[in-house]
Symmetry: C2
């Protein structure tokens, strides 16, 4: 296989993730093809030099690529894997996706034709903004980039995926798809659902007293921010990680009930001890892990 | 009563709130006395010109003041109200507190000697930092400042409290204490408990797979931030607002269970509709209310 800098790389989906991938790979690959159904996005990406050429035709966009990156919502990636894309690709093509859940995608990748070098991927980046106009060449720098091998993953697929992760200056972390999905259920999907349920709870209160919105300050702002995430993307994520999310919700309910028990019993010593544990854990994360 | 600019104002508790109150009142009152048990804080406040004089003696600090502001954790305010402070104050002194819950404080204020002009207060400010070194003269500018009249509150107490709120350029919002406590249970105490329970849930996961901390990104950062709040302050707040918080937790559980039901039933249409409601509510808040 020729080195990355001689390859044609096709990026399918030019949102924040795909656009940033294109910018991060610019000058490090032979040729960048962007595939997106939205003509405005394609025009913008070409005018800004984010991609070399663009097309809305998936088959045309990927058929000559040596590396194909799927940067779309999870259900779209699943549809591409199940319907058409395997037959469009040349043998020995690296197919990497950036979907937010990995088990269903890696399972679908396991059914691709022999010769396609498939690898599941998930770069862990904060995404308070979206769309190609927010694309950032440094989005992946220093960030964990999870790689999940599908059934029949080859050493070549692994090495080429690692080279790609290195090219965008992310930190590769290899793990199986079910472990990935369990971990992100905790740090990403649970926080999102809590944020949504909290906003819906306060919206119910606001029906009888709308002053609640005027009083809301920094605490509400931070905990409700995730509720403003893209709902199509989040529906895809939750519906492809139901078991892990339901498990985390069960564990969360126990924690919340334990706090409530101390609260309603007015056992302030026990309550403060539990609040203190969480305080220390969060401070420790902030000091040792926050990027 | 002489105007604010001729008064001696005593601020009891020189943390972020009390220190910012001092800075905001500087030049607008006759004399600023700071009361704090911590000699380092008193020295700093005097050296920086945040107060005119400082003392760790509550009685000495408040006895000659025409306005006294209690800027301490809720339980400390309650202890001051129940034990001593009423007998230290001159008749016709305005006594305003800045405690985060109001029902218990306003009840205790109702038992002060006749002649003390008491008013419950709660400025709604974001507080990601704490301590006098974070004090900011503009902390209250444009922010809602809730005023809750205790039993026997007089028109004079109300007018003088309004003048003080105006002096720090906040927006006064008058309401009874129980309504205040119900509203902040939703926008402040519920988010905090969710943040704590979430961090404790993920800490449980980390016991078997500590990689979870490395993968945690922006979503976790925002929703867990409140868990790092001061636990003494939060224990005071929760333990003086138990009924309202327990009510909000019950409403929250219903919302979370409804989301989970749609999720486990794989009813993506219903799920997306519920996520969409929360999305729109949060976006609307951001555009119309966020300060």
């Amino acid at each position: 296989m020729n080195a990355l800098r001689q390859q044609t790389v096709a990026i399918v989906g030019l949102g924040l993730m795909g656009g940033s991938m294109a910018l991060a790979l610019k000058g490090k690959v032979g040729r960048l093809i962007g595939v997106d159904p939205n003509p405005t996005v394609l025009t913008y990406a070409q005018e800004q030099g984010i991609i070399d050429t663009g097309t809305d035709d998936l088959q045309a966009g990927v058929k000559n690529a040596q590396t194909v990156i799927l940067a779309a919502p999870v259900q779209i990636i699943l549809e591409m894997l199940e319907n058409r894309i395997g037959s469009y690709l040349r043998s020995n093509t690296l197919l990497l996706d950036l979907g937010s859940t990995k088990a269903e995608i890696c399972t679908a990748m396991g059914n691709l034709p022999i010769g396609i070098l498939a690898m599941g991927g998930h770069p862990m980046c904060g995404k308070e903004v979206s769309g190609i106009r927010a694309a950032d060449p440094d989005l992946y720098v220093g960030r964990p980039f999870v790689l999940c091998p599908p059934r029949r993953a080859t050493p070549a697929a692994r090495l080429r995926a690692l080279a790609l992760v290195e090219a965008v200056r992310a930190r590769p972390i290899e793990m199986d798809a079910s472990r990935h999905d369990r971990l992100v259920a905790g740090i990403s999907h649970l926080p999102y659902l809590l944020s949504v349920a909290m906003v819906r709870t306060i919206a119910g209160e606001a029906e009888t007293d709308s002053t609640v919105w005027d009083l809301a300050a920094g605490g509400f702002r931070d905990t409700s921010r995730l509720a403003a995430s893209d709902i199509r993307m989040m529906t895809d994520i939750l519906s492809t990680n139901t078991t892990a999310v339901a498990r985390l919700l069960a564990l969360f309910r126990v924690q919340l009930a334990t706090l409530e028990a101390a609260l309603v019993a007015q056992d302030n010593e026990q309550l403060q001890a539990m609040l203190g544990d969480a305080h220390d854990v969060r401070k420790n994360w902030e000091e040792n892990y926050q990027h």
